[in-house]
């Protein structure tokens, strides 16, 4: 399958023989899920070398956050993984709460768990839709969007936005849930298992799907750990690691759920893991709805936007932070003067970590984001090497990368 490449096409030829040649896939390629460029070195159709190039969507969030207060920087996390913005918000809030030692009321923890799992379902549905579309199953795409739409409507009911929510707040959540929201969510949960069955009917045993996924993109457990994979990519290889289970935050310790594990580590195993996670997420939401306790939605020591007194007003609004008010606040609230904290949460893509360095100011001195997509793209080189170029699309899809999160 070699053919001569003309100079006018401006594709650099690696080898004079024309046996090996380089190809740049993306950033406009529709199957790269955004703006990912992959520099490929090919031997016929086999990938010899694969170098992912990121940075097309770089917006400098880590630097921007240094000039924003903790509450203001929350809106940046919406735009990390824009498919599951709520899970990012929750991760950010959990991290800041641990940094500033803020307690969260139980009701807020349950609501956060509900919305984080809802966004996990949203993300997995979109993943399944686009992954199946890449491989060639168009129908699943439409069916998944049908259910995702219900969830987006519920999010709109809850906080007035469909994608960039900014709903959780440091020390709680912004608004209480309504009876209409809970009713709608219950109706969704009632129909959802039958919808998962529909997707599985379409592709689970479909022989084209099996040909494209089984035994392709294999990663062993040790290899996955060495590559830093997290989330369903790691669990598909049989490594039992889930932040929700092993370092529970919010209400995850209070609900009962299983961590699905695969064993083969191929694309099909990852697919099955995510499908099983849909069931588990629905189970978690159902338990949270049943157990939702009464009480306040934001803690008494939360840095409110609705300001009860003058001191939080100063810390929120970002006026002169070295004023006298802050010294007292620092003492009262155990704000770390020069401390750092790394907090990991399980977002749909994997482990999202926030690393904060605080110098006692009302804004982070440094905020580092350990985003799963970035690390998964790095692993793409090792996974795709030696495979066919057609399987690269399936590999990118199964790693579930979002370029907004990778490039930050």
């Amino acid at each position: 399958m070699t053919r001569p490449i003309t100079k006018s096409m401006d594709i650099p030829v690696a080898d004079g023989e024309g046996e090996r040649y380089s190809l740049r896939m993306g950033p406009q390629h529709p199957a790269t899920h955004g703006v990912l460029r992959v520099d490929l070195e090919l031997d016929g159709e086999t990938i010899v070398e694969c170098t992912p190039q990121v940075g097309y969507l770089h917006r400098g969030f880590e630097k921007l956050a240094e000039n924003k207060t903790y509450a203001q920087a929350l809106i940046l996390t919406d735009r990390l993984d824009y498919i599951a913005a709520m899970a990012n918000n929750v991760g950010y809030c959990v991290a800041v709460e641990r940094l500033l030692d803020i307690s969260v009321p139980l009701r807020a923890k349950y609501i956060r768990t509900i919305v984080a799992e809802m966004s996990r379902i949203c993300s997995h549905l979109l993943w399944l839709a686009t992954h199946a579309l890449d491989i060639g199953a168009m129908t699943v795409f439409l069916y998944c969007f049908r259910e995702r739409e219900i969830l987006l409507d519920l999010f709109e009911e809850l906080c007035g936005a469909r994608l960039t929510f900014s709903y959780p707040r440091i020390g709680g959540v912004r608004q209480d849930v309504t009876a209409r929201f809970i009713d709608g969510l219950q109706r969704f949960l009632d129909i959802f298992p039958s919808k998962i069955e529909e997707y599985e009917t379409l592709i689970d045993t479909n022989r084209i799907w099996l040909k494209r996924t089984v035994g392709i993109g294999k990663v062993s457990g040790e290899e996955a750990l060495a590559l830093g994979l997290t989330g369903a990519c790691l669990r598909g290889s049989g490594v039992d690691y889930d932040v929700r289970k092993h370092q529970p935050y919010d209400a995850y310790a209070l609900v009962d759920f299983e961590v699905p594990l695969g064993s083969d580590g191929d694309i099909y195993a990852r697919y099955r893991c995510r499908m099983e996670e849909l069931h588990q997420s629905a189970r978690i939401i159902q338990q949270c709805i049943d157990q939702l306790p009464p009480g306040p939605i934001a803690g008494p020591d939360a840095p409110d936007l609705v300001m009860p007194n003058k001191v939080p007003a100063r810390i929120e609004a970002g006026t002169n932070v070295y004023g006298t008010g802050l010294i007292k606040l620092v003492r009262d609230r155990n704000l770390y003067i020069s401390g750092d904290v790394y907090v990991a949460t399980e977002v749909p893509k994997g482990e999202l970590g926030f690393y904060f360095i605080s110098d006692g100011n009302n804004r982070p001195y440094r905020m580092h984001i350990r985003s799963p997509s970035f690390i998964h793209i790095g692993a793409l080189a090792a996974i795709a090497r030696g495979e066919l170029i057609a399987d690269l699309i399936a590999n990118i899809g199964s790693l579930d990368v979002v370029l907004g999160e990778s490039d930050r």
Binding site: E149, Q175, T178, C288, I289, V306
Partner: protein
Amino acid sequence: MQIQYKPRRSWLGTIFQTEILQGMGLTLRRLFSRPITRQYPDERPQIRPGFRGQHALVRDPATGDCKCIGCMRCAMVCPSRCIRIRSHKDKEPGSRRVIDCYRIEALRCVYCGYCEEVCPVNAIVLTEVYEYSRYERPSLYFTREQLLANWDRFVAQMDKPVKEYVNPFWRPRGQAERNLTGPKRLPVPPEWSGEQQVVGRKWRQHLPPEQS
């Protein structure tokens, strides 16, 4: 939990390709169900209360002007710094601030709704209007007059009296009354104020019968 994911297939399925037929059958059934696509320009989506759309300054029926008191909280809390306020104070003692200029760059706004939440007098609101794209940038730098006109347009298309309109961000649901300033303590449904909170099934069983 180890998941079962080895696709099982009988020899009958292998020969007759039943799994393909099953999938085809599903899509065939869907052919006769009701379409779920919303034909947008003809069919309007239902906007939920609290939707964060076009900006507006609330027109005070008493004075005919905006309610803003020039406290600068919205300008300071804004993450994208898109609000610009200039105000001055009259010479007489005790007089309120006079707003000279109130500008919002809608193109920089991220629609987080923080400004609505911190405003102590509910002067600013993100309305439920979502169709206001323009071909040129200057028409999206809203001045005070434009923001008041936005409110008038929003009120005109509202199907209930203006007095009953309460934005969920003016008084966040579940927020305790003592945390709010005077004008923010609006009359809201009991569910919003936290008196009749939605609680789970397991909690309802444990509450006394008169509360549940």
